[in-house]
Structure formats: structure tokens, C-alpha cells
């Protein structure tokens, strides 16, 4: 066995032991580094977002240089070369819409011109896939012709280029994951994607403002739309999950928590249309990583309804110590190292905070070290090195 393969096996064991709430040899480090990789590899945000091969190279360079157990194959996940080919309007592309060294941005649709209208719920519910092709895509793409409109060269090309680009991109992940293993001894941290039905409605269809109004004006339709999306989102998650069932599916949680919605709306709509998906994934042997962007402390009791070890809870702006006290007996916790600390404070301040996390959260296993949020290019290289070295040294069990 090569040195890299030996290292890979050590790291895989360390990472998966912690995922299952166990106590490995030391605290695993799994930083979700996005535009940070560009900074470290001396590239711009434009370079890594518009050319996924550059993003892969930057991710490999970081994995080779830092003693990290697991990373995402590329955390600059949105390849804007593909979104350009499709003609998607809802991205701010670095180097075109925004400065070349700013990470790509999502654009919220205007309330009066959302990608789905408030009177179109029944159409979505009746046939979600047909709605996406026939109604949604022509609205989110500047190139795709709507039903009944003339077929155009640009419309045809959008499907051809978009389809081939997506196939090229997705097929590139296998070799990238293999290179991470062979060249760096690093584990690919996640596999598969899931979003809550509510978040899909808010992010991509009605917009947050539109959906906020719908929750009051047509709550029944909102719930039935979420229910109609559930089997499809489950299918996407299952079909992209790790066949070996070692690493979790990423659930990217956006605006389903208070104060974006009320407690009642969480309990009657968000959670009942997400929980069954998580339970079904677990029945298939797949863990889900709750990447809980924002603050979710108000909903931890609901998450405790899930089977033990079925999720990994990633603490963003929540107090990681409070999260651990509340759900650490049942689930692995990750994250909680504040991004502002990693970006703007001293290496000693980073080490001090990491010590506290190791002492109070990681002391009995079931913790994976990471920043609170995805790390973009404001994060300091010196501080990332301080976090890595300190956790590796002090985080031995």
C-alpha cells in the first residue's frame, strides 16, 4: 500500500468514526473551503468559477498542502461556464456581473416577477417535471423559448450545450475524487445533494418574498407544492449519494428557520415535508449532513425526532456549545469556528477558540472541525494554517 493510500485509510476511518458519533484517534478536520482555494492557489474567483478544471486544481493544491482529513471535491460547486451555456439569469458571474475576485452570487427574483407566479401552484403540483421544463426554465434562462413561442437557435443550443456541459462536469468528479485520494490521501467529504422542498420554492421558484406572502394567502397550496416536490428531491438525493454509504448527503439549509418563517410554519410545513425524506434516506443507509446556514437553535427539538446518527449537524451562526449540549448525545456536530475569526482575527484568537471547541464539544468524539460557513477568499491563509495545526496537535484523543 502506498503512503498516500495508508494516509487515506487513516483519514477515512477518522472521519467516518466521527460521523457516526464515535471517538477516533483525533479530531477530524474537514474544512469546506470554496473561494479560499482560489486565494491559496493564486487564482481569481472568476478563474475557479468559470473553469471547473481550475477549481479542481485549486482544491487539489489545498488538499496536498494542508493536513485535512476530508474536503469537498470542489466547494466552488456552481460552474458558471455551465450556467452561461444554459443562459441562467439568476447568477452574478465573477468578472462579468461582479468583480472578478468576488465569489459568485445568487440573485433573488423581484417579488412581482418571480420565476413561478402565485397562481401557478396547481400546475406545479400536477406535474413538477413538466412545469420545470415548460414554465420555469424559459423564465430562468434568457435563451430557452417558452411553450408556444418560436423555436430559436439559441433555445436549441441551450439544451444541447447545457446537457453536454452537465455531463462533462459530473463525469469529472470521479477522476477528481480519485486524484484527491491518490495524490493527497484526502477523503471526498460528501456525496449527493438535497434541499428542503420549502427552500426550493423560496430559492428557485417563488422567491422568498413571494413565498412569504403565499404562506399567508395560500398555505394549503404551498404545502401541497412541497409535498409534490418531495419524491423528486428524494430521488435526486438518492441517485447522487455515496454508493458505499460512507459519507453523507449534503442538505443545504437556507430560509426554513425562524425568523424567516414562524414556529407554526416550521412545524406545519417545513419540517413535515423534510423529515420523511431524511428518514427515507436513513432507511437506505445514507446519513444527511444538515448544513444549517443561519441560526437553527429554535428547531433542534424537532431534529431530535430523527433516528440516532442519521444526521450530522453543521453549526453555522448557532452557538456550537449550545448545539452540542442539546443534540450532541444523538448526532455528530461539525463546524462552529466563526468565519470572522478566521478572516479578521489573530492566529492566537483562532487557536483559543479551537481549544474551547475541543474541550467542550469534541472531548468525547462526534465532532468534525470546520468553519461555521463556507470559506471564501476573505479567510486568512495564516489563520487556516493555525486552525489546522492546532487542532491536529491539541485534538489528539
Amino acid at each position: 500500500m502506498s503512503d498516500k493510500e495508508t494516509l487515506y485509510q487513516q483519514r477515512l476511518k477518522r472521519y467516518t468514526t466521527a460521523l457516526r458519533k464515535g471517538k477516533p484517534d483525533c479530531v477530524p478536520i474537514r474544512p469546506f473551503v470554496a473561494e479560499f482555494t482560489a486565494k491559496y492557489a493564486c487564482m481569481t474567483c472568476q478563474e475557479v468559477s468559470y473553469d471547473y478544471r481550475r477549481a479542481f486544481e485549486a482544491a487539489l493544491k489545498c488538499a496536498a498542502d494542508f493536513d485535512w482529513d476530508a474536503v469537498a471535491a470542489s466547494m466552488v460547486y456552481v460552474w458558471t461556464g455551465l450556467t452561461h451555456a444554459v443562459g441562467l439569469k439568476y447568477y452574478g458571474v465573477p468578472g462579468i456581473d461582479i468583480p472578478a475576485d468576488t465569489g459568485f452570487q445568487y440573485r433573488e427574483p423581484p417579488e412581482d416577477n418571480a420565476f413561478m407566479r402565485s397562481d401557478e401552484y396547481e400546475q406545479l403540483i400536477a406535474d413538477p417535471t413538466g412545469f420545470l421544463f415548460n414554465v420555469w426554465l424559459p423564465r430562468v434562462s434568457g435563451d430557452v423559448s417558452a411553450a408556444g413561442q418560436p423555436v430559436t437557435f439559441r433555445s436549441n443550443l441551450s439544451f444541447l450545450k447545457g446537457g453536454m456541459a452537465m455531463m462533462s462536469y459530473f463525469h469529472a468528479f470521479g477522476p477528481q475524487i480519485e486524484r484527491l485520494r491518490r495524490e493527497c490521501g484526502t477523503v471526498s467529504a460528501i456525496s449527493g445533494i438535497l434541499k428542503a422542498p420549502f427552500d426550493i420554492l423560496a430559492d428557485k421558484l417563488r422567491g422568498y418574498l413571494g413565498l412569504a406572502m403565499d404562506l399567508h394567502e395560500r398555505p394549503g397550496e404551498v404545502k401541497r407544492a412541497c409535498e409534490a416536490l418531495m419524491p423528486h428531491l428524494l430521488h435526486v438525493a438518492l441517485s447522487s449519494a455515496d454508493p458505499a454509504r460512507q459519507v453523507p448527503i449534503g442538505l443545504w439549509m437556507h430560509r426554513g428557520c425562524v425568523p424567516f418563517i414562524s414556529h407554526d410554519q416550521f412545524n406545519s410545513l417545513y419540517w413535515p415535508t423534510l423529515k420523511p425524506i431524511i428518514e427515507e434516506l436513513w432507511r437506505h443507509g445514507h446519513q444527511t449532513m444538515f448544513y444549517a446556514e443561519g441560526r437553527w437553535l429554535a428547531h433542534l427539538d424537532a431534529f431530535l425526532e430523527l433516528p440516532e446518527q442519521s444526521i450530522v449537524f453543521h453549526a453555522d451562526q448557532d452557538d456550537v456549545f449550545a448545539v452540542h449540549k442539546k443534540i450532541g448525545h444523538k448526532f455528530c456536530i461539525s463546524g462552529g469556528i466563526p468565519n470572522y475569526l478566521l478572516a479578521y482575527e489573530s492566529p492566537q484568537a483562532v487557536r483559543d477558540f479551537c481549544k474551547r471547541v475541543i474541550d467542550e464539544v469534541a472531548f468525547d468524539g462526534g465532532y468534525i472541525c470546520d468553519a461555521s460557513a463556507i470559506m471564501q477568499n476573505e479567510v486568512s491563509i495564516e489563520n487556516i494554517r493555525a486552525m489546522t495545526d492546532y487542532v491536529r496537535d491539541y485534538g489528539q484523543y
Partner: protein, 56 residues
């Protein structure tokens, strides 16, 4: 074809094999192979639209 009368495709499906089969003359060969390959390629179109929605 009145597309509004079609049944709602299940997850993973854009045009069900049963719908496609109605457009074809009687199958003389191995239907199982036709079905399998149709469904595999049809599933790619499903992957395309749902990943545009969820991943991009």
C-alpha cells in the same frame, strides 16, 4: 397529442416508456432492451432539469 392528459411522470422519468411504446409499431425484438435503454436516456433528461433546479 394532448400533453395535458398525460399522467404525471414519476421521479426519474420525463416520458414514460409506456407512452413511447404507443407511438411505435408492434415490437418484434427484445422489448426489455428497448425499455431499459429508453429509460436510461430519458433519466438523463430528468437529471438535467432537476439538477439545474437543485444544484445550480
Amino acid at each position: 397529442m394532448d400533453e395535458s392528459k398525460q399522467p404525471t411522470p414519476k421521479p426519474g422519468v420525463c416520458i414514460p416508456w409506456e407512452e413511447k411504446k404507443k407511438e411505435l409499431p408492434p415490437i418484434q425484438g427484445n422489448e426489455a432492451q428497448f425499455r431499459q435503454v429508453w429509460q436510461e436516456v430519458d433519466g438523463m433528461a430528468y437529471t438535467y432539469i432537476w439538477h439545474l433546479l437543485v444544484s445550480f
